[in-house]
């Protein structure tokens, strides 16, 4: 394959969303290796010019190898390792990103009048804080740089949101600016607290008093390889989620009938070298390289309930992530429910502006069929340009555009939830048990706030917030089999 033939399709599905502005822009990074996922997310949106604070140059070379493997010549990669922070400023970046080392970075941003994204990654003591700093701002109060124990899942799920903030800062003066963030910044709001440990689905402005209780003692599911996880559908959700779960399951069963195509590497876990391979086989290689123990690749579509049941028994599946993006999700979920296997059914909405995860704890609580198509989840957002184009016979696209930031954020949450369903009830975290107990098992996450005449779409009022809907929001105008017992007419109970 020649470089040109790779260049064209590679970014085709992100260009409608982020245009080409980012290809010219440069970001400087302080705080490797923690900041590494931000580089990956932003590079997948087209940012190819980087200055990294990396005195040894080792992490820069690892990132270079990864980015070239994933994006090839389409990215026009220009990656420079710097010894000192001043060198970063001298490279005249459009944005300074700092994960930790916040005081140093703030001084640098103030001195050189650089826009900055200052991130305090989540620890067991405090949630992730992301601060947008613009030249001329008063210096914001910073969280202490004292190292705490990193909240690993907290950071995995917060990193794509931080990347989306970084991208919004880069695009703020273009036609692709983020209206919700522009409005927030205009009001002087600069800080977002992402996923406080008492309420990891939430994003909020930090209040004057500490909103988060001391959380070192909040129970976290201990790391470990548990159970055998089926992942049905290995696209932008399944493949990325699998990479985050590589060391969380004792065994994986990967099922997808498709092959990797030239459009996939930009937001799926397949490097360019795997184009043409079956997705299941390609991902098996990747997972084994990431330390997974046992991986079975099935190059097939799971569509028949009976066949799925047989497969589940044969492979002794103990939990499943169902993300085929097709109506086959229902047949797979029915087979899982019949066998009392906890599962999670995920999908992205158009442009991956929102995502949905439906948790089913085996035969307890409502199943997929009682939730999808029955749950009221708040006002819908305006249609995407692609949805409008789809009205025309000629206008429909082969696939919806989305970037790794949006679909990757959905995938990180699906992975985090899958880690919970893999764990036995005694090892699950409080917030997850609360969702199950309240039967609020339909989660809808939104990376941005989109106002509608009936309020923000899906009731998401802060960028990165996740709403939990469920039993109280189920409307019964058609009998739903296996519906929860207390279903009534549309209940007034608000979402979580």
């Amino acid at each position: 394959m020649t470089p040109n033939s790779l260049t064209d399709p590679h970014f085709a599905r992100i260009t409608p969303i982020v245009g080409r502005h980012l290809r010219r822009m440069k970001a400087a990074v302080v705080g490797l290796p923690l900041a590494e996922p931000l580089v990956k997310y932003l590079a997948a949106s087209g940012v190819g010019h980087w200055a990294l604070l990396d005195p040894t140059g080792q992490q820069t070379e690892q990132l270079r190898a990864y980015l070239l493997a994933q994006h090839g010549p389409a990215l026009s990669l220009d990656l420079v390792a710097c010894d000192r922070p001043e060198q970063l400023a001298a490279s005249q970046p459009d944005l300074l990103i700092s994960a930790g080392m916040l005081k140093t970075s703030l001084s640098l941003a103030r001195e050189h009048r650089l826009p900055a994204l200052l991130i305090a990654p989540p620890t067991l003591a405090h949630p992730c804080q992301a601060i947008a700093y613009f030249p001329g701002d008063k210096p914001p109060p910073l969280l202490d740089d004292a190292p705490g124990q990193l909240d690993a899942w907290g950071w995995i799920t917060a990193a794509p949101l931080c990347a989306s903030l970084g991208r919004a800062i880069l695009l703020r003066q273009t036609d692709l600016y983020r209206p919700d963030l522009a409005d927030m910044w205009q009001k002087g709001l600069r800080v977002l607290e992402i996923g406080p440990s008492d309420d990891p689905l939430n994003v909020r402005q930090p209040g004057p008093a500490p909103q988060s209780p001391a959380t070192e003692r909040t129970f976290r599911t201990p790391p470990g390889r548990r159970g055998r996880l089926l992942i049905a559908g290995l696209g932008s959700l399944g493949s990325i989620a699998a990479t985050h779960l590589a060391r969380h399951a004792a065994g994986f069963i990967l099922a997808d009938p498709d092959r990797v195509d030239a459009y996939n590497p930009v937001r799926q876990a397949y490097p360019l070298a795997q184009i043409g391979y079956s997705k299941a086989t390609a991902l098996k290689e990747t997972l084994l390289a990431l330390g997974a123990d046992e991986v079975t690749a099935l190059n097939l579509a799971l569509t028949d309930e009976g066949e799925v049941s047989a497969l589940l028994k044969r492979h002794q599946v103990t939990a499943a992530l169902v993300v085929t993006g097709t109506a086959a999700d229902f047949a797979i979920a029915r087979a899982l429910r019949r066998l009392d296997i906890p599962h999670l059914v995920g999908r992205c909405y158009p442009r991956a502006r929102y995502w949905e995860a439906i948790l089913v704890d085996g035969q307890r609580g409502p199943g997929l069929e009682a939730i999808r198509g029955f749950t009221t989840t708040g006002p819908a957002p305006p249609p995407t340009p692609e949805q409008i184009a789809a009205y025309s016979d000629a206008g429909a696209l082969e696939a919806e555009p989305a970037t790794l930031i949006e679909s990757g954020w959905a995938a990180t949450w699906l992975a985090r939830l899958a880690a919970q369903i893999l764990a036995p009830p005694a090892l699950r975290e409080r917030w997850f048990l609360d969702l199950l107990a309240a039967q609020q098992t339909c989660l809808v996450g939104g990376g941005a706030v989109q106002p509608t005449v009936a309020g923000p779409a899906y009731a998401i009022s802060a960028p990165g917030q996740i709403r939990a809907w469920g039993r109280h929001n189920v409307r019964q105008s058609h009998p739903a089999k296996n519906a929860p017992a207390e279903i009534g007419s549309l209940a007034k109970a608000p979402p979580r």
Binding site: Q186, F330, G373, P383, Y391, D393, H478, P479
Partner: protein, 236 residues
Amino acid sequence: MTSFHHHLTVEIEEYTWPVDGQAVGNCMTWAKRKPEVLQQDLAGMAGYFPHWLLVGAAKEKPLTCPACQTPFVPLDGAMRCIKCRREKRVSSLLWLGHLPLPARPEPAFQKRLAALRKAGYGEVMARETTYLLAPLSVQYPSEWPNVEPAVRYARRWLQVMGLPHSSARHHLLDRGKACIFSWGQWRAMPIHALLQQRMVNHALSLFKIAAGQTPEQAFIGRIHHDAWQPEPAGDP
């Protein structure tokens, strides 16, 4: 389990048959898993739209017996021709029928009315109001009622009405499919409620367009409203 009968007159013969739930279940697995859902649809349609028929189809195209030119219907354990009882395997099921809608008084619409009459489309009179009979099909999805059905206008009827087959402004998706829910907006409801709550409004909006209104005037509501766009902020 209540039995619901459908009726059809072909030439001078009248045919009546009980809708066979087992035959529906053999064609659509949801009906086997959830017979109560099918019962509710049959009861609702019998109550509000008793002239509509449940027929076999290949995707959205109704199938007819090559010998008799009559539809295949769920009868005696299979999809069968109502006349010769020939069995046919079908991939989907449609409700076929006419939705009565009050005609508009505007002169522009009278021209359309004349064209519809000339093309042979029916109408009924009730209390001095003319009700046009809009020909529709409702296609069950494989995962009914979790997934929305496809409701389509007859292609020729749209042509006679002077309307496009697909147009964002007219809320018509490909091949005359009515856009009645935005993405993810579907909430399960029986077929008769869908016709009453969504399709009547949709079709009346098309009537308004045929009467001279713009699509934007005719489709009141903000499904396709512009996204909220404050001024770009630059550096705040």
